[in-house]
Symmetry: C2
Subunit: 167 residues, 2 copies
DNA sequence: CTAATAGTTGACTAAATCACTCGGGTATGG
DNA sequence: CCATACCCGAGTGATTTAGTCAACTATTAG
């Protein structure tokens, strides 16, 4: 599993979708405006989410996206993995970078860490997040300023550049 | 905090150092041979570890590195942070990428994750690792094949490319 | 003294990845 | 038929990774 701002954007967008579920569908443009993410970038992310069956789409005017599953059945781990398609088998467990064709000294450490992170992220669903008071507070704040007219260019300057992976 | 193969190499090398503590010093060339890491690369890593006061060095023939602290006082988190000098304050907590100059929807989630990972890695010291049966097994295997003559070129092809960050 | 050892430093590099943008599609409701 | 919204692929600049190379400096054995 990998953790980049890409994955974080995806989770944020999915949470926005979950929050606005009461509409039939939510347009990406709305999510883009509310969360300050570039529209074209969102399109990229949602293409992957759709391929993984996490969201469903309706085309044409009035169309948009909706969750393909109940919010309680979509975990953060699922979203992150959908985005960072890690068919990335080149892993310490049986590979050469582990030195002598076997486990390296710290193999166990990293795999245990990976397990913990996965467990944490898999234990949190969109439903969990929606009920979080901290989240609701932000939702409320965003509702008061319904449409900040963000020019198509000046959005989403992710200044921080941080990653997190774990096989 | 960031987690890359760089940090992993550092932890592996430090663990090797801890395992061979009975010698006064351990030469980087020995670590390089045992762990299959390029010598020049190790030099880079140990320069940082030294600046952070985690290792001490002795120059000249017979010289090498040793732990600057008891193994029980060096945690994995310290090593990783020494390598990925993250004076990297550009974080969600008070930055613009969090959208409306305040917390973004998922701020809490990521900071909680970061906390957990840090706690996990800070709870494990070199002393912990040395006593790990899995580690001892690998050490034993490496001891049986004391010097595999690795030509200076064909070392350290880290095929996997994975990162892990968490502010 | 001098050669060999071993750490110290800095500049450099190829390849990969990230975080996007751009431009054009295609379905669909009014 | 046209505006809306999803769909898709290619391209790009900046950054990072995972190193390499070359030239030091300190120390010790002989």
């Amino acid at each position: 599993m990998k953790l980049t701002t890409k994955g974080r954007y995806a989770v944020t967008a999915m949470l926005d979708l979950a929050v606005h579920q009461h509409h039939d569908t939510v347009a990406l443009a709305d999510i883009a405006a509310r969360q300050g993410i570039s529209l074209s970038y969102l399109e990229q992310l949602f293409a992957k989410l759709r391929r993984r069956g996490l969201v469903a789409s309706v085309r044409g005017p009035g169309g948009g996206y909706s969750l393909a599953l109940p919010a309680a059945q979509i975990s953060v781990a699922q979203i992150v993995m959908a985005i960072n398609e890690n068919i990335d088998a080149t892993r310490c467990g049986g590979e050469k970078n582990c030195h002598g064709e076997e486990r390296c000294l710290t193999h166990q450490l990293w795999s245990e860490l990976s397990r913990r992170i996965y467990e944490f992220l898999d234990g949190i669903t969109l439903a969990t997040l929606v009920t979080e008071p901290e989240v609701q507070e932000v939702v409320l704040r965003q509702a008061k300023r319904p449409k900040l007219g963000v020019p198509r260019n000046e959005i989403a300057h992710g200044s921080s550049y941080e990653k997190a992976d774990l096989s």
